[in-house]
Symmetry: D3
Subunit: 311 residues, 6 copies
């Protein structure tokens, strides 16, 4: 009995401690107007809807006939419009500073969110076209690939790129917060971390993909092929007078058309990898590479050495 | 009101654009006979069933007594037989070219799918035996491992290998598409990417595992141990006269018995790593390594250098 | 008909084979007293509850007002206490050898599990405080970060560290098995593999994160920053007279305050990386690095070489 | 321990007893060809789909615009066609006696099920029209009704009649078993038990409804109104030489146009209630009632009597 | 092939027929401002929340301690406030005629819905008190009742009355449509049909209950007890010049304190059943009954008669 | 702002009011030892399991082969044993007065619950046999019935009797509370209210069923057939000196073999309806009826009378 009382006392005390503003204020964000936060769950639904729209028959419903595609697309677009409008509104409220949100174009908040949602949806045919070039690139680049369908079903690069291309379109519409959440979903599922602000051309592919990082100011041309573990990162970035990193400065590589970068290569800084260059695996590159150039790791030692059994 | 009309007009137009054959044909695959596509959802259920069958008490139901194991196994096998037959049929239809599917052995499509499903199920005791050697290898290779049960519950290598060993068995039965989907599930969850066509012996283990890639024509002996980030990849592959990669040529390493390969090593091409060899971390190997050989990275510089704060 | 009989015969035979003790004993663990095994599903719920408690408004419920935080926290703590007590009990039973479980402090099994669960819950405010330092470190270390909320929502390092900091607290309470299951959840989702026994200070951050490995006896100071693919591993470990690795020997690095380690660096063995040191990307370090030291990869070759198209 | 063994022994014995054919054969029905039984769960989904199709905006999706109705209807019809075909096939198999099911019209089983499913769907606009007359009758007959929408949302008679009108259409197509299952769903939900073979005209309504029974051979005209507890039943039915009731003989009342029958009246046998007749509450009628006739209960006693407190 | 085309043609034609305004307009209701319709699903959730709040420990969560009741109540009230406000708004929009909804008190639509929702919630303690008198009446009236808890768990009258007392409170707040939906839920589950506008005193109980009907203008005193099948109905109601029933005229009985009405009795019209009266089963009453009066059915015949076997 | 504060103040006040013991104590039941209350949700699962066990192939799984019945039965019995033991324990705790629960047979609480659960399960084959007689009776009694399977799928009497026969078996084992909850589930679904303490013979059937009430001390022989709306009730019951009904006195009818009772008949008091008697519809019987006797309602008036349009 005494034990029960003691238990309850500590629970009550901990609840109190966790409910004091001093404790939760460090991690608490109250969006403006008491509006709700973006919902990761609904953003997942949104991505499922988009996959069903882009790839009829693969996701969601597994039998799809030509005659009925338009009905399913119609319903999915209608749902997407509602759900995406709601989440975009939450994203805007999240950053909004003013009590009355009026946009530069004179739109009310609701008008603005519907306008943004609509602008995004209008781009879906183009997003599908881009992804279809990526599928073709994956097929051409991998001797183990047997069909386009296999690539759509299985290849992590396609999961990653549909998230990237959607998130990037939202970046272009200046929607806050949502693009990062969407791209992190793909990072979690595939191990491929593409910042939604990066610019990537057509016919892009990544084989295997785990560990790839593509930084926010990277610019990638057409027909570029990466392998697992490649980093397109920043080398250094200037600090402001308070010692904080200055935002928005170009600091990641430019990779021109037809470049191939092999596994675990690390490319750092605002350098240019010229068109058609090939970067070997496990190298560390911090200088420009000319068009058609090749970079290879220095030779490994192959001799006897003492090494234990594990890590 | 005008805004509402404008919105609806754009939505309707986009639905139309996405429903024209020109748009969806690039990503659309209609399996033969209008039969449905393989279902990723049901394949996930199938893998859950197999885990419950192989590891009684760990997955699915958390209390299991010796007296009731046969009931649960009986029900799970019955469900597995039905679900797997259905998905194998979808896999076969997916590739099938002819209107009437008659197999070399004279089987109808339904007979063939049941025969394949049955052949797979017959192999489950052997798959369990193989996985139990892998568990033992993981236990022996990791001083942090405390029990077999901990390894079954927590170690990503076991998740990865149960998917691999199941998918590889389906490869041996020439089931199309399904093996790749199954192995990608494990890749997504563990960051370990094992192609289902690779051949892997007993007592195989991978520590940590994120970023490991094992290519389709790799051959791995018994008692082999890998660490995270290891690539067993292709160095180059011949193109046909149209510039497309020729399929099916051996292009990945042969790793003999008792080899250890440390983290982030990259082994490329149809080379042989001789029995008992040790490959150090972060190296790039493109030539044969003799039995008992050692390969180590060249020395790093340890001096002052200018480097910024981030990537 | 004959086919149906044949099918059923093989299914029945396989069920029998899988239900014989010889087959399942290799992978079967019967916890003491016939009590159930830990449930991965409920441990996932527990982590969801903890995330809701630590980050009010981000997870679970998306509208949260200051006036109602205490109600939600109260309910979540009450649920957590019950679920965590149940799982801790299963963890204790799992290892328990004796028929009657009496603890050194004279507690019965139930008293001990409630005591441990309570001790953990009492630490939640401190866990929240620690995570909030990690959020600040992530914000300061990444010029692309726009707000604390973005970091909580999106950054894999935060997912990873909340699992680590929870699991580590359970390690300190000597709860068996659960910490490893909890940390593997984060490994699977983020590609960051932190052993729950590692010791990590405040203001810790990892950028991108995929492929990071932090071994069980690692000690990490305050204000340390890692990048993707960094390994803090063991170089070798002594074997006992039977050839098995000896457990519990310190074998992973000590990383002092304010160290930065760039992507894919591999640091092995019980060495010390001195305060303020910077380790470059893709290097392999097996010796101590002095305070303020710098380690950089040797130069790559940049020349023409023969390399194929893929891996 | 002995107790545990005893427990397991009894469980095992009971499982055995329940699995012997002698036990389960009394309640077991194996449909022909080993095909599955009709699924009550899927039939519930089918009724939900039909409700969504008939009443856009009330069930399923709660926001529906004129512009998008055709998309939602298209998807729902497509789903309905597939699910209903599957269940009709199960219904046919259920009764089928022959190994090879060939129908009088030369159809295969699959062709026949699709033909029946299609014929049903073609009738949906007419079913909607009929229900809309019933809604109008409910509105006119109840001074408490405030709008058509209130009637669609709340009135049990509408739930009951949509099930009846759907089931009756399936009766007309000679689909076995399904109509009874569908009408019992409505009976369970509303307490109104309408046999699907009964014939009911337009503008039919039942107020409150609990306890109403309408037998299989009843014939009801237009503009008929019933109250709760009314029975349209059989008075007696001839037996065959084995003492079993002869099937299919008309044995329930004919109720002509514009009849009103008040609560708990019992009308038995193949009698005719003439057009415009009014039947009072709690009466028992076994003879014809002429056009415009009135039937009323004999007077109750209103005096002191001894009666206890309960039942 | 021809068959497939024919099938698709008929499906497409039916979709078209169902999507023409002429077809769906008869059953379609577009609420004002394009706002959504009330959601039956969410109203069910609302009733679950209210049951959890009123009866802590019985519904929802099955372990509840005194120390934690306030947390659970706090969370449930917060959820209820949000969900109920949303549904009340939909109810108001449903009836709203004007483009800009301004209420007599000057409230905007959102202010009005929150005000109504709040007013309802404020009444919950009183609703709990009333229900607790009903529980006591059920306990006293039924010799088979063993505990209050059994009554709360099992007795349909309690399910029915909690819906009635909630719906009646919403009627008093002039919330449209929702009260009827809520009371029909209970009708469907219990067979007891209480119109939410009826007025019912304290300590009210109904035994068994199936088939009971209590009309909209009924007035019931305290300590009244009904049995199954009792109707408190209208005898007739005046029509307006168009032949439609005139709304809102008192037309159902007044039942004074301490009345008992036995099973299947039918009481019709605006008559008064005086305090303490007892009405026997199966009677039909259309005149006032004095205080303390008794009404009994006339004697049944008990003789031989010709009757068949079934209905 | 002021409005928000006002709202929150009222919500907080109401939460407080509902959390004071004075408010919730009237409806609150704390079972002994802080153990949880019976769970209606799990009792529903238990009934689903029992239906699957009794009727293989109809409920739960829709394809069942003779070869696999024993596996499914084994799993379902194992689950049933665990779930039923847990709920029986809750039922016992609910009534338990003492701190240490020791039963007359010397069993601990856990031993007693397992013993009761086991005794129940042992009766399942007999329950199945009884239900199969009821199915036969329903088939013989209804000319509209086409097959046993139709009766199992559709007839409410079977739903009702499986609940009754299960609940009655628990009554015989003196399990508290659970039988009433189980029988109320069937009442809610079918409108048939059978008290679990009633005694009912073999070959029992009820046609249509809505509104039937069978009181707690009723005794019903073999081959008895009822119709909808029949009441077997109490006429009066003696009060104790405090005016409360005395519990456990026989007060409901005895109905001997081969009796038929037509719709809406009311039979009250501890009278005997002799074997082979027939009771007509809508009658009120309070005296014994001899063997083979007939009871019929007195004649209705059939004349003109003034009656309105509705109720």
């Amino acid at each position: 009995m005494a034990r029960k009382k003691h238990t309850q006392k500590i629970l009550t005390q901990t609840i109190h401690n966790l409910s004091t503003p001093e404790s939760y204020n460090t991690v608490y964000h109250e969006p403006n107007h008491g509006s709700p936060m973006p919902s990761i769950g609904e953003l997942k639904n949104i991505m499922e809807l988009i996959k069903e729209i882009i790839f009829p028959g693969y996701f969601g419903k597994d039998v799809l006939k030509e005659e009925t595609i338009s009905y399913y697309t119609g319903v999915n677009i209608d749902k997407l419009f509602q759900q995406l409008s709601r989440q975009i509104k939450r994203g805007l409220c999240f950053e909004c500073q003013e009590q009355k949100m009026i946009f530069a174009n004179g739109n009310s908040c609701e008008e603005q969110t519907e306008m943004l949602s609509l602008s995004f949806i209008e781009k879906l045919p183009e997003i599908r076209r881009l992804i279809s070039t990526d599928i073709q690139a994956a097929y051409n680049g991998d001797p183990a690939a047997k069909s386009f369908a296999e690539i759509i079903f299985c290849y992590p690069v396609i999961k990653s790129l549909i998230h990237y291309r959607v998130a990037h379109e939202l970046v272009k519409l200046a929607v806050p917060l949502l693009p990062r959440i969407i791209s992190e979903m793909a990072h979690s599922e595939t191990g491929i971390d593409i910042h939604p602000e990066a610019q990537i051309g057509e016919y892009f592919t990544i084989d295997h993909g785990t560990g790839v990082v593509i930084g926010a100011t990277s610019i990638i041309g057409n027909h570029v092929q990466l392998y697992q573990g490649v980093t397109l990162g920043a080398k250094n970035f200037p600090l402001d007078k308070d010692g904080n990193p200055i935002k928005g400065i170009p600091r990641h590589p430019i990779v021109e058309d037809n470049v191939i970068i092999y596994s675990n290569a690390t490319i750092l800084g605002r350098i240019t990898i010229g068109a058609g260059a090939i970067i070997g695996g496990n190298v560390w590159v911090t200088n420009d590479v000319p068009r058609g150039g090749r970079v290879l790791q220095s030779h490994s030692r192959t001799d006897n050495f003492e090494l234990g059994l594990g890590i």
